[in-house]
């Protein structure tokens, strides 16, 4: 099975900051890590490769430094990786990012299965996977926690939402997004680290992947970040008195008021 894992380099939790002018995340000079959700997607790919054989290629879009995330993936068992890096890609929202990734994946010759982490910890949108499937014209299932069956032309996957569990039949090729599982993703190995260090990571520009500049980066991004701010926490405690019935009525009244405020 030929698999592609989409990987993103994100700021380490302790070092994330927002540029006050552009309202975007400051990435230069910050400690960066591989998006934790993507490590779970990679782990699932590694498990599938163990069952069926095949290859796992990582793809990412970002600054040249983002190649480190691909090397991290290789050190954990990925076969190789490709970096999309070009000023044309800069400032991309999820639509422009998924477009660029789709062009890169097509240049790679496509795959039987494309895996993404459920979301990235810096953007929290969970949009890339579904948008990528749309860009590539492939079926997709989001929030996969387990692959129950794997065949040449389909997968049977399980996904779990808050109160809902679904078992879905998914024809291949397809895109899935993967949630964090209780299983800890594989750590890098000595041999993986040394292979990753020497791995050649191709760097592709927008022109290399035949991307339309109008659909890339800031120009191709309909999302406008108007303002980024830390939410003001509002906490107000009120003790309801009386018997249970009175308390319930008072609580219902408070709920109505809060809902009216939100409308």
């Amino acid at each position: 099975m030929r698999m592609i894992v989409c990987i993103k380099q994100v700021p380490a939790a302790a070092s994330a900051s927002i540029d006050p002018l552009t309202k975007t995340i400051v990435r230069t000079g910050q400690k960066a890590v591989t998006n934790p959700f993507d490590l779970h997607a990679l782990q699932l790919a590694l498990d599938l490769r163990q069952q069926t054989g095949g290859t796992i290629t990582g793809i990412t879009m970002g600054l040249p430094a983002a190649a480190a995330a691909l090397r991290d993936g290789i050190s954990r068992g990925m076969d190789g990786g490709v970096l999309l890096s070009d000023r044309t890609f800069a400032g991309a929202d999820t639509l422009a990012t998924s477009y660029a990734l789709s062009r890169g994946i097509e240049k790679l010759g496509g795959a039987d299965l494309i895996l993404c982490g459920r979301m990235a910890t810096d953007g929290d949108t969970a949009q890339i996977g579904p948008e990528l499937a749309q860009q590539l014209g492939l079926p997709h299932v989001s929030d996969v926690c387990q692959v129950l069956e794997i065949a040449e032309d389909h997968l049977v996957v399980r996904r779990v939402w808050d109160e809902l569990e679904q078992v879905l039949h998914l024809p291949l090729p397809a895109v899935i997004t993967v949630v964090k599982s209780s299983r800890t993703p594989a750590l890098p190995t000595l041999s993986g680290m040394l292979r990753a260090k020497d791995a050649v990571i191709p760097v592709w520009t927008a022109a290399d992947v035949g991307a339309d500049p109008e659909r890339c980066g800031l120009r191709g991004s309909p999302t406008q970040v108007v303002r980024t701010f830390a939410p003001q926490a509002r906490r107000q405690a009120q003790v309801l008195g009386g018997d249970v019935g009175t308390q319930a009525q008072a609580l219902a009244q408070l709920c109505r008021e809060v809902l009216r405020e939100q409308d």
Partner: protein
Amino acid sequence: MCETQLIRPLTGGDAEYLRDESKQTGHAVSISFPETEAQVRQVMEETARQGLAVTLQGSRTGLAAAAVPFGGHVLNLSRMDKICGMRQEGERFFVTLQPGVILQKLNRAIAARQMDTTGWSEQSLAAYAAFCRAPAQMFTPDPTESTASIGGMVSCNASGARSYRYGAARSHVTAVRGVLADGDTLSLRRGQVFAKGYDLTVTTDGGRIISVRLPQYCMPNCKNASGYYCAPDMDALDLLIGSDGTLLAITEIEIALLPAPAVTWGVTCFFETQQQAVTYTHGVRQLPQQPAAIEYFDPESLNVLRRQKAQHTAFAALPDMDDAYGCAVYTELHCDTEAQAYDLLAQLQRCAETSGGSGHHSWVACSDSDRDLLYFFRHAVPESVNMQVERYKQHHPGITKTAADIAVPDGCFEDMLALYDGALEQAGLQHAAWGHIGDNHIHVNILPRDPAELDAGRALVAQWAAQASAMGGAVSAEHGVGKLKAPLLELMYGKEQVQAMAAVKAAFDPGWRLGRGNLFPTEKEVPVCE
């Protein structure tokens, strides 16, 4: 605070102050929690008037029962927890602190460069400003229990994994000040007072001259926390470090910081057999660049973790281990550059392959989250063993874990390992061993399932202590002697030398009040197991 408030009778609510992590329980009549050196002096003077023995306590994380009282008064120093100042000498920084400062808090303050500087001198503030601008610093002693107090660490010359490269607490303590049993104070700074041969004289702040003839035993040529440090022409400060709360109550310590490495990577290599792990360790020790730590996990340690991971959700995050993995060696690399670290990785891979292992059967942690995972792995072993012992205690409340803290000189480790294996196999005791293989020092833990196995385990530890002593090893390499290992000291040094050690104590503490039962066994009063 008046005396009556400072010293109060021990009540039922103080039960926790009668025990420490050794799981032994003692008894006492009164307790105090001084916050200043003046209050420590008050306590010493008042208890001297009452003729009470005084047991010193920090955060009670010790494993040798040094903080468990044998009657008398408990002087708990945990509220003396301030970082008092800083000093700069060239590019090096030195921190002065009270004994109750917790290691974890100290490390966080150093890493974040956030210290409460209230009341600091101008000189300290200037050094602190330079420290905040300087490259990152660290305090290297890292005992497993990060809630240990610095005073406790100095008292038992604690070390931890990174002592392989950086040495134990002694190497990083540059001054100690404390209160003697009579209330007088003594300050010693490294490089200022030395013994003349084996004759050592120190002068207290009150003008009392303490002259001692140091014991003339040969210090073991390995990691050691067994009794007083004694050597010809030694620095007087080294006598106080590792004195197990028997000479004075430490009230102020100065520690030296080191520049933190730019790159810290952890590497765990798995092997099928113990012999492969030992061969790998030999190879790693020969590398031109010394790792910070080399730690071992025996087959039973890995099995304990496998069981914990399967049975307890709290351990579910442990990484999966192949069933073929028999044991593991963890190596921590501290490097200036990533290129240097990669070079070391290549050398570790070669060591693994020539030892019968493989670069594929390994974990490497470069990121904070992966390092945390390996840290969790390392600490889950003792935690899991403790949980197992707790389960056995439900059936036999009197039992407790029995562990060896023995180190031997280079060239003797494999012999010692063979003695451990042979005895354990013959005794049929449940056990797990892990620890500082780079220092020829592993902790063999026996998990007794009933009182008979507890006795058998204790007998084995005593037997190993004698065998290690015959090899020139140490009966306690890092936990200190306290009360639990006190009977082993004679095996190591001989009766005459222990008596010479007792004479040193008597010179500092003529009333024999401090740390009664530590280092020197007291037959009359024995702590009881919980």
